[in-house]
Symmetry: C2
Subunit: 373 residues, 2 copies
């Protein structure tokens, strides 16, 4: 029998201040928890761009588990027999946490582009509010992959007094020009879709064509060139002379499918806001207080607190979107802050997706790391 | 004073048979020549996806030379004091040679999607027709980069009796899944643009937004990650807190500019037809007669003829779109056909664009190769 989980919503009826100085009049946070809370055994899991609060176990009546179920559960890397695992949908998302598709209390209509710009730090602050509500005052670890790794780093640095450790997987201290470029083309594809309509599409057909193109670009970068070649090569789905304006190669059908599947579950404006937060993320300027969007007068964890902490940076050799070199930069930066940070580049052929699919070696590293905290 | 050139049009008023079996009722071929024809000194230059017949010198009144002027001219790699250089716009293009934007003689209106699918072999056949008209019966060499390299290989194999050598730069025997994927996303972006209108947009505003996105994707793949980082990094164009729906980073402005510049000079349907020809290119099945679109009953150069020929394959270390490994595949294939083929991977940081920009070392190799023929 499958272990069940459900997404709950924490409603915060008070204004929530963002790093930009803007306020959200109220806030919903969608989250799930797995395992039993015993005061000192909490781990916060952070999801990637298209993830959600449903990280593990099964929703009643569904036969597909959460997005990181391979890593979270009894006896797994994040062992729910030992740890209390929390995962929440990120701020700006579209799976229960307040985002551009949520109703603006002032109008009753979806925010759309009147939703304020958000940052990775804002996402961390929202999670801090959730932990406060749950009565979680200390974390064994904050962990995540891709954008989840950025959130993990930001949370760890901003709330250093409550974190013993971080695990940052397949991620970066900040985006390179090429990483920004891929995101920007995705955003352009969405905004080029007339159905986007400056973000006002919620009463109408959403910009599915544009969002689908954005997702297709993403999927090219998530797979290694080698795996894509082995999996699809030049195999054709049809055996006839192709209609040149319909997909013919398997890889074309795969991307087409990924695009169509994505638009059913994701909001185009969320895609714009979240990728913008990712591109603007820059941990070094953020925690040194030189960031251009840093809010004023807010207490942050003292960097001195980091001295007693531990970090684990995991990368994958075939990940060309967040290559091991960017993981090494994280390690250098964290070690300069006197966080004892380990590094591994796991041999894997799945590209960036390895953090979701290559669980064996990854689990060993994480299990060993958590045991040593 | 700049050396002048002009694009001429060869009109062929007869039906032109394509590899698919389809016929074009008539054909225009736009071409330029540089240097003086002396019977045995002709070199055919092939352009890439977005190139045209204007490879070198200046058009009257213009201050920008042809796209490969750094390589073609007196004393340059393709020395116009010695060689008679010919370059024509490819079939399916939009710079003078018949393509989907050309008028269909049957209707007087642009072909649009009634233009038949074309192949790299069709492009070679069109060039053969041009050479016949020019009275060129032998070529010292056929040469090109990127898609031009594919055309060079196809022409060399199909018309082996008239070619002494080929130079194939930054290209491949056939596209990998990832290369198809990048092209497919570009095509999807164009077709997702409602202005595309199933290819019928010539009397109206063309699908500029979609074509621009396609071009932006292309430009990401043309530059090396390292060069993009050095050139743009995370530098911002504006100094204020950005409007998140307008470009802010320099790299975003760069891509935006490239997209806008491209739609002014290129036809969206040509983009679809030509990238389709590129993705379907597969030299091995093509010359072994097992290709699915191979026409029947057509005389091709005897592969035995290749034994006395020479080839040069040039790649660039930072080119991740057509990496050196694909160049090595060309060499292995050609050497198996007993073409004496040399290989070089030139150290360069410009990525795929190196074949257009890194001229010094490339010129040395080409000059030496041509001297040895």
């Amino acid at each position: 029998m499958n272990t069940l989980a459900e997404t709950r919503i924490l409603h915060i009826p008070r204004p929530f201040k963002l790093e930009s100085g803007d306020c959200l009049p109220e806030l919903d946070i969608a989250y799930e928890t797995y395992g039993e809370f015993r005061g000192d055994n909490a781990i916060l899991i952070e999801h990637a761009l298209s993830g959600d609060a449903h990280a593990a176990f099964y929703h009643a009546g569904e036969n597909k588990p959460g997005w990181w179920d391979v890593m979270i559960g009894p006896g797994k890397a994040f062992d729910t027999d030992r740890y209390f695992i929390i995962c929440s949908n990120c701020l700006g998302g579209c799976q229960g946490t307040t985002g551009p598709s949520s109703p603006d209390p002032a109008t009753g209509r979806p925010y759309g582009l009147s939703f304020p710009p958000i940052t990775i730090r804002d996402m961390a602050d929202v999670q801090r509010a959730l932990l406060a509500d749950l009565g979680v005052e200390r974390l064994v670890c904050v962990a995540g992959g891709s954008m989840g790794g950025m959130q993990a780093l930001q949370f760890f640095c901003d709330y250093s007094t409550m974190c013993a450790a971080f695990i940052c997987i397949a991620s970066a201290l900040k985006h390179s020009a090429q990483q920004i470029a891929f995101n920007e083309v995705g955003r352009r594809a969405i905004m080029a879709d007339p159905r986007w309509n400056e973000g006002r599409y919620y009463a109408d057909v959403p910009p599915e064509a544009g969002l689908s193109v954005a997702r297709m670009i993403g999927h090219i970068t998530y797979l290694s060139e080698k795996l894509m070649q082995e999996k699809f090569g030049r195999t054709r789905k049809d055996r006839h002379v192709p209609n040149i304006f319909r997909p013919s190669f398997e890889i074309e059908h795969y991307l087409d499918y990924q695009g169509i599947a994505f638009v059913k579950r994701f909001d185009a404006n969320s895609y714009l806001y979240i990728t913008n937060a990712i591109d603007n993320f820059d941990l070094i300027t953020s925690i040194s207080g030189t960031g251009r969007t840093r809010g004023e007068g807010r207490a942050r964890g003292d960097i001195e607190d980091l001295r007693r902490k531990k970090g684990l940076v995991i990368t994958f050799t075939s990940d060309w979107l967040y290559p091991p070199a960017q993981g090494r930069e994280i390690v250098r930066f964290c070690n300069a802050l006197h966080v004892h940070t380990s590094f591994t580049a796991i041999n894997s052929e799945h590209g960036h997706d390895s953090f979701l699919t290559d669980t064996r070696t990854q689990s060993e590293y994480i299990r060993g790391f958590l045991n040593a905290i």
